[in-house]
């Protein structure tokens, strides 16, 4: 697996990175074996994610996944977000090595916990 342009771009310049004032949802997840961590903040209103931001993470893949996922779920209905699974990450990011799946699943599980 090679990193795509888009992954590299999202890793270098993550979207929706930083604090979110007035967030009413918060969720933090970490990967035991690499110690990396991501924390999401969201404004949820009327069953819709109005805004979302994140902090933390470590590697390029998890950062890019957090960035791309946050873009994707912004404006989505909470009900729809609950349905997201590993497939959506692979759709967004392309093929991911098995050894790195945990990287890209970390932000997903944090986002799902957010709306869980």
């Amino acid at each position: 697996m090679e990193y795509s342009e888009e992954i590299i771009d999202n890793a270098r310049n993550p979207r929706n990175f930083g604090d979110l004032k007035g967030a009413n949802k918060r969720s933090k997840q970490s990967n035991a074996t690499c110690g990396d961590m991501v924390e999401f903040y969201a404004k949820v209103d009327g069953g819709v994610i109005r805004d979302i931001r994140f902090k933390g993470v470590g590697c390029a893949l998890s950062t890019a996944a957090a960035s791309m996922l946050s873009d994707k779920v912004k404006g989505m209905k909470v009900d729809e977000v609950r349905e997201l699974d590993g497939k959506v990450v692979v759709e967004l990011m392309g093929e991911v090595n098995p050894a790195r799946m945990k990287c890209v699943l970390l932000p997903l599980s944090a986002i799902r916990a957010l709306v869980g």
Partner: protein, 421 residues
């Protein structure tokens, strides 16, 4: 004679291409590749001699038995023991440590007793003792590592780390110390422990037993258990050109004799009745069930191979490459561990600033370079470096300066990929 180009010819896997580039295998601290002599020994065992050992009268069983016992003898000689009954075959170094824990530890470690390990132990030599201490109400005392990644024998301040006090060996030892379990060479940093000093201090200050984790030292340095003055040495075959699934526990005969069996079953038994059983003698007392015969034979062949190179030459080669690599990488990455190459085996641990070790490893893999990244089953010492993950390149007998050059070149590419615009 130590001619790397000739050595490389013996390793079929080195002809592989990875992502269109020739393989540069620099993950030897994790596991080593196998020369055709080892592979052929395994094939020969299966194609010509395979049978269950020890109990059979028939020719194949006799052949298999003499092959595995001959391997035991070779390995004893290889580590400087003149008593092959001191060689217990296990699956790997981890099992060897667990064997000592379950057999000797369960019997000899009680409430309030102390077990001393270092902060840079492999998880196998840390968690095993953590668990025993937890079970027994014993205390795990942790020896600190200095800025150079060396075990702190004496001096320095006690400090708290991960909620645990860490200190010098001198401070850690006491009247209640029952066991000191220390690695000879760190798998994370490659630093060589000052074993002579450590053993002397333990023997002077305590009556504790000493277990040495030789997983990273036995493959690269001449080992002389007769002179080390320790009680147990553990190592894995797969890290020294041998097959997977075979490792060794060496112990002094007296201590092995006193230890109760660990695993029960066929072969480790003398007489069996429904109501009671008697144990077989050493080493079989500790080898329950059908052993990994092909693994033993293969490890014997690996030892032959290493001896044909000469362990002093092997160490010289490691030193040469690590000195070269340290010199070359300077200024191009943050390097951890001893600055003086003479204090380290062929391991270079580093990070590229702002780039996660896993990303470094993955981009390098795109160029055919195999290095390891992460915590290397040594989470505490990695965290003590202030990192969550580090990259590690480690060499062995078949690695070349050219491969080091190639690695350093490609580190530049890695940085390019992730350079902020």
């Amino acid at each position: 004679m130590f001619e790397v180009e000739k050595i490389r010819e013996d390793f079929p896997i080195l002809k592989r291409e990875i992502n269109g580039y020739p393989l540069a295998y620099l993950d030897n601290a994790a596991t080593t590749q196998k020369p055709k002599q080892v592979i052929e020994a395994i094939v020969d065992y299966y194609e010509n001699h395979n049978a269950n050992v020890h109990r059979g009268i028939h020719t194949l069983s006799e052949e298999a038995t003499s092959m595995v016992e001959n391997a035991r003898l070779k390995i004893a000689r290889f580590i400087g023991s003149n008593d092959e009954k001191e060689i217990i075959f296990v699956r790997n170094a981890s099992e060897a440590i667990n064997l000592v824990m379950y057999s000797w530890g369960e019997k000899n470690i009680g409430k309030g007793d102390e077990v001393v390990v270092s902060l840079m132990e492999h998880h196998s030599n840390l968690v095993t003792w953590q668990m025993l201490c937890q079970k027994k109400g014993a205390v795990l005392r942790v020896v600190d590592v200095d800025g150079e990644g060396e075990i702190r024998v004496s001096g320095g301040e006690m400090r708290e780390f991960q909620g645990v006090r860490v200190m010098s060996l001198e401070q850690a030892l006491g009247a209640k110390t029952k066991l000191v379990a220390i690695t000879a060479v760190s798998n994370v940093l490659g630093t060589v422990s000052p074993l002579e000093k450590i053993v002397k201090m333990v023997r002077t200050k305590t009556k504790a037993k000493i277990l040495i984790d030789g997983s990273q030292s036995v493959p690269v340095m001449k080992t002389e258990v007769g002179k080390m003055g320790v009680d147990w040495l553990v190592f894995s075959g797969h890290k020294m050109l041998g097959p997977t699934g075979i490792g060794v526990l060496w112990g002094r005969r007296e201590i092995l004799e006193e230890m109760p069996p660990f695993l029960y079953g066929g072969d480790m038994i003398g007489q069996v009745e429904l109501g009671k059983s008697e144990w077989n003698e050493l080493p079989w007392k500790f080898e329950a069930g059908t052993p990994n015969m092909a693994g033993m034979v293969g490890l014997g062949a690996a030892v032959d191979y290493l001896e044909s190179l000469g362990m002093n030459e092997v160490w010289k080669h490691e030193q040469e490459l690590v000195a070269y690599a340290l010199e070359k990488i300077k200024g191009k990455a943050e390097v951890y561990g001893a600055g003086d190459y003479r204090k380290r085996a062929g391991v270079v641990t580093f990070n590229l600033p702002g780039i996660h070790a896993h990303d470094t490893a993955q981009v390098l893999d795109g160029f055919g370079i195999a290095i390891r990244s992460g915590q290397h089953c040594g989470a505490p010492v990695v965290e003590s470096l202030g990192e969550m993950a580090v990259a590690r390149a480690s060499v062995y007998v078949y690695n070349t300066r050219a491969e080091i050059d190639y690695l350093i070149d490609k580190l530049v590419e890695v940085k390019k990929v992730f350079r902020k615009r």
